[in-house]
């Protein structure tokens, strides 16, 4: 069969075929483009998360003891890792893995001689925590948290909330809340 290129019908069919082909290609490309954008956003958010709790600055060590609270803080946050689970609009679900500070602190506190004056007991716990973090004598805990993100001057930034902060510190802050509550309750009931 001969194709008559002068025939308008032929031209119309041909044009329709090309448009259809382009459309099919376009539709097939959408997930790939979206995936590309998401990956870019995820990478930006991952960077933003990292920036939020890392510090290049070494804590100043102006005392003889090597386990100042600032040193311990850095030792905790240096060990934190995280995974971005999902990213919907301005909400991100993260899985934060950090030293299980709640467990570690309670375990160490249990071993402290109860007859020690409170300030010595506290110093001793701090020293033991410092050692445990240095020697790897701790377990990790993974906590899923949801945080808001927002774009500021073209860069993604996270908006930290309490769950986020608590997860980075290995649930340490919830322990603090419990201790405050217990202290007040004890004071009242005594």
């Amino acid at each position: 069969m001969k194709i008559n290129f002068k025939d308008k019908k032929v031209w119309l069919i041909g044009a329709a075929a090309v448009v259809s082909l382009l459309l099919i290609i376009g539709i097939l490309m959408i997930p790939a483009i979206r995936d590309f954008n998401n990956k870019k956003k995820l990478a930006a958010i991952e960077e933003a998360v990292k920036v939020s709790f890392t510090s290049e600055e070494e804590p100043q060590d102006d005392s003889e003891q090597t386990y100042t609270p600032a040193v311990i803080e850095k030792a905790i946050t240096d060990k934190v890792s995280y995974t971005v689970i999902s990213c919907e609009n301005d909400k991100v679900i993260l899985q934060i893995t950090a030293p299980d500070m709640k467990k570690l602190l309670l375990e160490i506190a249990e071993t402290i001689d109860s007859s020690l004056p409170s300030d010595q007991a506290i110093r001793k716990i701090e020293a033991e925590v410092d050692q445990a973090l240095k020697n790897g004598n701790y377990s990790m805990v993974t906590t899923p948290v949801m945080v808001d993100v927002q774009k500021v001057d073209g860069n993604w930034e996270i908006v930290p909330n309490e769950d986020f902060v608590n997860a980075i510190y290995g649930n340490m802050l919830s322990l603090y809340t419990e201790s405050i509550s217990q202290n007040i309750q004890q004071g009242v009931s005594e």
């Binding site: 803080e73 249990e110 908006v159 202290n183 009242v188």
Partner: protein, 777 residues
């Protein structure tokens, strides 16, 4: 011989005179017993037997022990481990103390008021105070780093240290992020008018450069944003400034009011709560100054920060002026340093100490002027607005840390004070501050979302605070100086006469009366009081308003209409002449002048006098007292309030009530002459021109004047202290605060701390300001 005889006669005469004189002297020197009326805050005794010897009154050691709260043991007085061995006198084989000096040694005040002696012993000794405060203070530690006990407590302290000393925590908790600032400043735009007024208020303070006011002996001026106070008296040195300032009740308050009407800056001597607030003010001032500077340097310095977008146009100039001032002045640093070092002593200082410390810290210029930076006032106002409602756990940790440091300082002072009885008063206030710190910390922890608010916990804090506050300052200062009491001026009570007539029932119970006079009596109510009456004419006023009183009700008044004797020869039906011939005009007084009683349409003559330690009333109705027997006569126990005899719990409750701290559902019994201080807020309700004094927990008192006309007009809401001079319900003396809305009471009040100025409109001067009539319009 004749001469000799004369001589002998003369000698005998002289001898006789001498002997007579000595007899007279001996007669005067012979100890005499004298029973007098008395009341005491520590025991229920209403009579005390004193011994008069050589013009000195003596009290027995047993009575002295009762009135002072000490115990007589092994030849000395003892109480809670404290031993006192006063000088005693053995008279007629019994041990006595000189009334005034002896009681003084037992820290017991004794004064004569009217016809009775009032003994006021220590309700709490220093050792008892320490025992109480020690027990309470161990329960109210804020000290996060040292005070926590137990496993969870220790790790809480460790967490606190890490969070507060670490470098990352404050950053990731979002405290100083630019976004935070932007949000805050965005809020400024939303509340443009409000922030403008706040910022401009501060700015206007800086803008006033002329002399702005004077108080006696001082000129105030503002120069370069600092308040200068200069003595305008003969001497212009610092001492003259302090001297002039000390003459004012509230020097700093006066100064700050004079520069801009700031009502919240106040230092009032030993008003401890105000001082704590003052410290908080200073403390937040330092913190806010730094935060404010941080915020503005961050936002102003940031290239991303668009001033036009965030700052209202009219606010820019004032903000920039304030920021410039903040950056240029070193007064803030000076103030911060001063407060960091000396702030804690502010709690325990009077205005004198504060100002003297200011001298030491070079707050005075070489010319003697005192210089106080005031830009912080504006900064604080702006900060309060900007950070209102912004609450993070990080904020709580910061605040809590400051409070725990403060509390640790207070504990050090407390330990120092408790070693020295001379500083007993400071021990009390240090303990109160300590608890207040704990309470503030608790409230912060609630605000910071650390724990749930609990009314029970609040109550515990308040109870602990009130328990210490209830310890009398007077007990701890022990400044007692008893004046000589003259036996001549102290009416003696004839105890034999006390046993005669109906007076013998005074102070006894309904049961005692029934036992003697029988059970055939009726009870009735008249003018809010309850009476017990016998057909034979005996009548008794009771201390209760109940129409069916218990047998334990006390007889406070005895009444006679007829021949029934009241006391000695006094009866219910006597003429004025009979009374005068019986007791003398000196005791009875002048013949009463009558008045016409509109209510009963009759003439009435009333006579009142004191006799044998009692208040006696005689009334003639439509009769001439001179020629006709009285219609009614009555005797009440005394003209002295018997409140002192209430037991310890009652007295504590009374003290709370006097402070305006009424519990819901509590009732108080008052007499017309009772004075109660209520603290509350006056509110004007609806169009009925009614005013209510709002107390706590929804309790209110309707304010009406003593003629039962309600106050009217408009009155701006104003916090004030209201001293109730007359508090009396015509229907029943016992007042139930739960039912206040359905009752009317008469309240004549005086206001102080009233700042409503011209907004006060009243019908009659039922409300007085500082002893003057309130402005009427």
């Amino acid at each position: 011989m004749k001469t000799h005889g004369k001589k002998i006669l003369s000698v005998l005469l002289i001898l006789a005179l001498l002997i007579n004189a000595s007899v007279v002297c001996f007669a005067d020197d012979a100890p005499k017993y004298q029973t007098v009326r008395c009341i005491s805050n520590l025991c229920d005794k209403t009579r005390v037997d004193l011994l008069l010897h050589q013009d000195q009154l003596y009290i027995s050691i047993e009575d002295a022990a009762e009135f002072s709260g000490y115990q007589w043991k092994d030849s000395q007085f003892e109480r809670s481990g404290e031993k006192i061995k006063p000088i005693t006198h053995t008279i007629e084989q019994k041990e006595w103390l000189e009334l005034e000096s002896g009681m003084e040694q037992l820290y017991t005040e004794v004064v004569q008021v009217g016809d009775a002696l009032i003994f006021r012993g220590l309700e709490t000794t220093f050792k008892e105070c320490i025992k109480k405060t020690d027990a309470i203070l161990t329960q109210y530690r804020v000290d996060l780093t040292q005070g926590f006990a137990g496993t969870v407590g220790y790790v809480g302290a460790v967490v606190f240290n890490i969070a507060s000393q670490g470098k990352i925590f404050s950053r990731i908790s979002g405290r100083h992020s630019e976004e935070q600032y932007k949000k805050i400043i965005s809020r400024m735009v939303e509340g443009e008018e409000e922030v403008l007024s706040i910022v401009q208020e501060g700015y206007s303070l800086l803008d006033k450069l002329d002399t702005i006011g004077t108080i006696e002996g001082l000129d105030f001026s503002l120069n370069d944003g600092a308040l200068k106070i200069i003595s305008n008296g003969p001497s212009s040195d610092s001492a003259a400034v302090i001297h002039a300032l000390n003459k004012t009740k509230d020097p700093l308050g006066t100064m700050f009011e004079s520069i801009g009407g700031s009502k919240d800056f106040s230092l009032k001597g030993l008003d401890i709560v105000s001082q704590l607030e003052l410290y908080q003010y200073f403390d937040s001032l330092i913190g806010c100054g730094q935060l404010y500077a941080d915020m503005f340097s961050y936002t102003y310095g940031s290239s991303n920060f668009k001033k036009d977008e965030y700052i209202p146009k009219a606010a820019r100039q004032p903000i920039e002026a304030l920021t410039k001032y903040y950056n240029s002045t070193d007064y803030l640093k000076l103030l911060a340093g001063y407060l960091n070092e000396e702030g804690k002593t502010v709690f325990f200082s009077s205005a004198d100490d504060l100002l003297e410390t200011a001298v030491l810290k070079h707050f005075f210029s070489s010319s003697g002027a005192i210089i106080i930076p005031i830009a912080q006032y504006a900064l604080r106002k702006s900060y309060d607005f900007l950070f209102d409602g912004v609450s993070h756990k990080a904020d709580y940790i910061e605040e809590s840390k400051r409070i725990s440091e403060l509390q640790a300082g207070i504990m050090k002072l407390y330990r120092k004070y408790k070693k020295d009885p001379a500083s007993a008063i400071n021990t009390k206030y240090a303990a109160m501050l300590y608890i207040r710190c704990a309470h503030i910390d608790y409230k912060l922890s609630v605000d910071g979302g650390m724990i749930e608010e609990s009314s029970v916990i609040n109550k515990y804090y308040n109870e602990a605070f009130n328990e210490i506050a209830a310890i009398s300052d007077r007990d701890l200062t022990k400044k007692i100086s008893n004046k000589k009491i003259s036996a001549d001026k102290l009416p003696k009570i004839d105890m034999e006469m006390e046993k005669t007539g109906l007076t013998r029932f005074l102070g006894k119970t309904v049961a005692d009366v029934k036992r003697e006079l029988g059970k055939n009596c009726v009870f009735y109510s008249d003018a809010g009081a309850t009476f017990m009456s016998y057909e034979s004419g005996e009548r008794f006023g009771l201390d209760t308003q109940l129409l069916s009183p218990s047998n334990a009700a006390i007889i406070r008044e005895v009444i006679s209409f007829n021949e029934t004797p009241l006391l000695g020869a006094l009866r219910g039906n006597m003429t004025y002449g009979e009374l005068v011939s019986l007791l003398g005009k000196e005791t009875v007084g002048e013949k009463p002048e009558g008045y016409y009683d509109d209510m009963y349409a009759r003439m009435e003559y009333n006579l009142t006098f004191n006799y044998n330690g009692h208040k006696v009333f005689y009334t003639w109705r439509d009769k001439d007292p001179e020629s006709s027997p009285s219609s009614i006569a009555s005797i009440v126990e005394s003209n002295i309030e018997m409140n002192y005899t209430r037991d310890q719990a009652d007295r504590q409750k009374l003290q709370k009530e006097q402070n305006g701290e009424f519990e819901v559902g509590s009732s108080i019994t008052t007499k017309i002459s009772d004075r109660i201080t209520l603290t509350g807020r006056i509110e004007h309700v609806g169009l009925n021109y009614q005013y209510f004094l709002r107390l706590n927990e929804g309790i209110s008192i309707k304010l009406v004047d003593d003629l039962y006309y309600e106050t009217f007009g408009t009155l701006s809401e104003e916090e004030f202290k209201c001293k109730v001079l007359y508090f009396y319900d015509s229907a029943e003396e016992k007042y139930d605060f739960d039912k206040l809305n359905t009752n009317e009471c008469v309240v004549t009040a005086s206001l102080w701390d009233y700042r409503g100025g011209e907004d006060l409109f009243l019908s009659d001067p039922v409300i007085m300001m500082d002893g003057k009539e309130a402005p009427l319009k």
